[in-house]
């Protein structure tokens, strides 16, 4: 079981990184690539990734910053990627929606909905066949769970007992479209997973302790060869779908947004900690400073780093040249 203070600290780190970056994104207009911020959804990534070993793997959809950081992805490399620099985790070629840090076990994020659900399934399938004990996790949204590939992948994983934990971060929206307009009221993503015979839990996704406990169960089952497993985590994004702004009162009702701000996952974890740790506020303040500094350093390094050389534009489309023999 992870230390509750460590879970809180990891969430604060992601919160600070994201808020710093969002403000810079808006003010500077120098991170020229679409960015989907994870502010408000930190508990999902932190609670789940804290249940993983370093060599376990994570694949995600477009909203990937929180999972990247929670899995131990390199912060300066992520920031440099947003600035389009050669030092970026994808050498400036992929942007926010194509993060990767293979050394940390963050295999990759992808921009086309649902793609990584199947890719994670295949990775888990391969690992199991090779006798590995690694577990694969994939994060995706409620909207991605509407793609055909979601259902096809779960079916395959169930048949082949692939050690993959499907984590659906249900923030109740797909861009501006509320879930009620897209999925039947008496169904749920969890129920669909269960229909494939997959053990599935629906958990309060803003309660990091509950997320973590459920993730430990899911990961343990996968590791023991009883996979796949499924988690639906109810949560809410604080900012607009893509970009640093807010869509309150435009795409989402003000009262709804405000009610979710009150259910802040960071606040909630801090409140839970307070009885045993009366100094929690001081710790929060210190972390805040520490992580904002860390982010500013990463930003400074990214700005100082070179852009990719234009004459290297096509490098990497293929590996080493293939010569006809």
């Amino acid at each position: 079981m992870a230390d509750p203070a460590a879970l809180l600290r990891d969430m604060v780190r992601i919160r600070c990184v994201e808020e710093e970056l969002a403000d810079l994104y808006r003010d500077e207009q120098e991170m020229r690539t679409p960015v989907h911020f994870s502010v408000g959804q930190e508990a999902a990534a932190v609670g789940v990734c804290a249940a993983l070993r370093e060599d376990d793997l994570v694949y995600t959809g477009h909203r990937s910053h929180a999972a990247y950081l929670a899995k131990g992805g390199d912060l300066p490399a992520m920031v440099a990627e947003l600035y389009g620099k050669e030092t970026g985790c994808a050498r400036g070629r992929g942007g926010s929606v194509h993060l990767t840090d293979r050394a940390a076990g963050f295999a990759g994020s992808a921009a086309i909905l649902g793609e990584m659900i199947s890719v994670a399934t295949g990775a888990a399938w391969a690992l199991r066949r090779q006798g590995s004990r690694q577990v694969v996790v994939t994060f995706f949204g409620d909207g991605a769970a509407e793609e055909g590939v979601f259902h096809e992948s779960l079916n395959f994983a169930a048949v082949h007992r692939a050690p993959v934990v499907y984590v659906c971060e249900n923030n109740a929206y797909s861009i501006s479209s509320p879930i009620a307009a897209r999925q039947p009221a008496d169904g749920s993503v969890t129920a669909r997973a269960r229909a494939f015979g997959i053990t599935a839990e629906r958990v309060d996704g803003n309660d990091v302790a509950a997320v973590h406990a459920a993730a430990r169960r899911a990961v343990a089952a996968c590791r023991a060869g009883q996979g796949p497993a499924f988690l639906e985590l109810d949560t809410y994004r604080w900012r607009e779908h893509v970009g640093p702004g807010h869509d309150t009162g435009v795409d989402r009702p003000r009262e709804e947004v405000e009610s979710w701000l009150e259910r802040c996952p960071v606040r909630r974890a801090a409140d839970a900690l307070r009885p045993g740790a009366p100094d929690v506020e001081e710790r929060l303040a210190a972390w805040d400073e520490e992580f904002r500094d860390e982010t500013r350093l990463a930003v400074a390094a990214a700005k100082a780093a070179p852009f990719p050389a234009v004459d290297r534009l096509t490098d990497g489309a293929y590996g080493s040249p293939v010569h006809a023999s």
Binding site: Y25, Q29, R32, T33, P34, V35, E81, G84, K85, G88, A90, G92, R93, G94, G95, V97, H98, A110, A111, I112, L113, G114, G143, A144, E146, E147, G148, S174, I175, S176, S177, A181, R182, Q183, V242, G243, P244, V250, D251, F307, P308, V310, L313, T314, D315, G316, A317
Partner: protein, 345 residues
């Protein structure tokens, strides 16, 4: 001087007029009913006809394509909007393996009139999977009409043709075009598929293009006019059917051809146009055909790379000068097309 509309307004107007004229027309797609309204193009239809005829869908492109084919089989005329053309890869099985073949495969007893609009992103690090131009991909398949209008007037006329057609239609819209303005007649009218136009007459070099590249070609022509080079710009408007006459007669007049495209050269639109010229007017060429296309790699995010990746007026002008033996250093440098674009979408 007639009435001026932007490209997105022209699409919005055509949509509403078709929905008024034909109760079978429904707009279908992700977030088509929201405040942004697919770059404004579906907003007026939603305000006018509401959720019953402007239908927000789950994120299920594969099924939605088939659903719309079924709906078309039973009397509806779905207009499906994809906010990135790249998402249409998920729709391709139904559209290609069934929709495009329906009429023929079932013995010509009727087609399925589904219209799909796909938006092509460009600029602001849209990257590898949000900036692909798929007109050549769809143009490969018999049974589809595929058009990529460059002007507001053509965007309206081709959409109305599409919504009156009896065969599936794919329309490619480059996002950079939405804000462009042009004269657009108020009443409904059609622009036929397979009919190109000379967007600018000229005597020395022909540039063949579609969609955004027509504007880049016109900018290049403007630039070269100052150098004494007279560029003709052919806007094909449709890529299937392709207006071979407008291409070949221009090539025959100028004897020099540059083909400019937002998508890759290999097996693409530019290859097809070059083949048409080689087949029909090979002796008219006074110089080899030149293609101005992206290099052979996916679209990068980093903006200096992105700027180098997407071809524009500068590269078209260079290619024209090469063909007429002109001096490249005499041409001033041009800013990229998205220089004025402020993100993040």
């Amino acid at each position: 001087m007639g009435r001026t509309l932007t490209y997105w307004q022209a699409i919005a107007e055509a949509t509403v007029q078709c929905m008024e004229a034909d109760p079978a027309v429904v707009v279908v797609g992700q977030n088509v009913d929201d405040a942004k309204g697919s770059y404004g193009t579906t907003r007026a239809a939603y305000e006018r006809f509401g959720a019953a005829r402007v239908v927000d869908t789950p994120n299920s492109e594969n099924a939605v394509a088939g659903i719309c084919i079924g709906a078309a089989d039973q009397g509806l005329r779905p207009l499906v909007v994809h906010t990135r053309a790249d998402f249409m890869f998920l729709a391709m099985d139904a559209l290609i393996n069934l929709g495009s073949k329906w009429r023929y495969m079932y013995g010509d007893q009727g087609g399925v009139p589904v219209v799909m609009r796909g938006v092509v992103g460009r600029g602001w690090g849209q990257g590898a999977t949000h900036s692909q131009s798929l007109h050549s991909v769809f143009g490969h398949f018999p049974g589809l009409y595929v058009a990529a209008p460059a002007s507001p007037a053509d965007a309206k006329g081709l959409l109305i043709s599409a919504l009156r057609a009896d065969t599936p239609v794919v329309l490619m819209e480059n996002r950079s075009l939405y804000a462009t303005e042009g004269e657009v007649p108020e009443e409904p009218y059609t622009v036929p598929f397979g009919k190109g136009r000379v967007a600018r007459p000229g005597a020395d070099v022909t540039v063949v293009a579609a969609s955004l590249m027509v504007h880049e070609a016109l900018r290049a022509a403007e630039l070269l006019a100052g150098q004494g080079v007279d560029v003709e710009v052919v806007d094909v408007r449709s890529v299937r059917p392709l207006d071979e006459d407008v291409i070949c007669s221009s090539a025959a007049r100028t004897g020099r051809v540059v083909i400019a495209d937002t998508s890759w050269a290999r097996y693409g639109f530019s290859a097809e146009v070059a083949a048409v010229i080689a087949e029909h007017v090979p002796h008219a060429l006074r110089a080899p055909v030149r293609r101005v296309t992206p290099p052979d790699c996916p679209a990068p995010v980093s903006w200096p790379l992105e700027e180098a990746f997407h071809p524009g007026a500068q590269k078209i002008a260079d290619a024209c000068l090469e063909l007429v033996g002109g001096d490249r250093s005499a041409v001033p440098a041009l800013a990229g097309v998205d220089a004025g674009f402020i993100g993040p979408y």
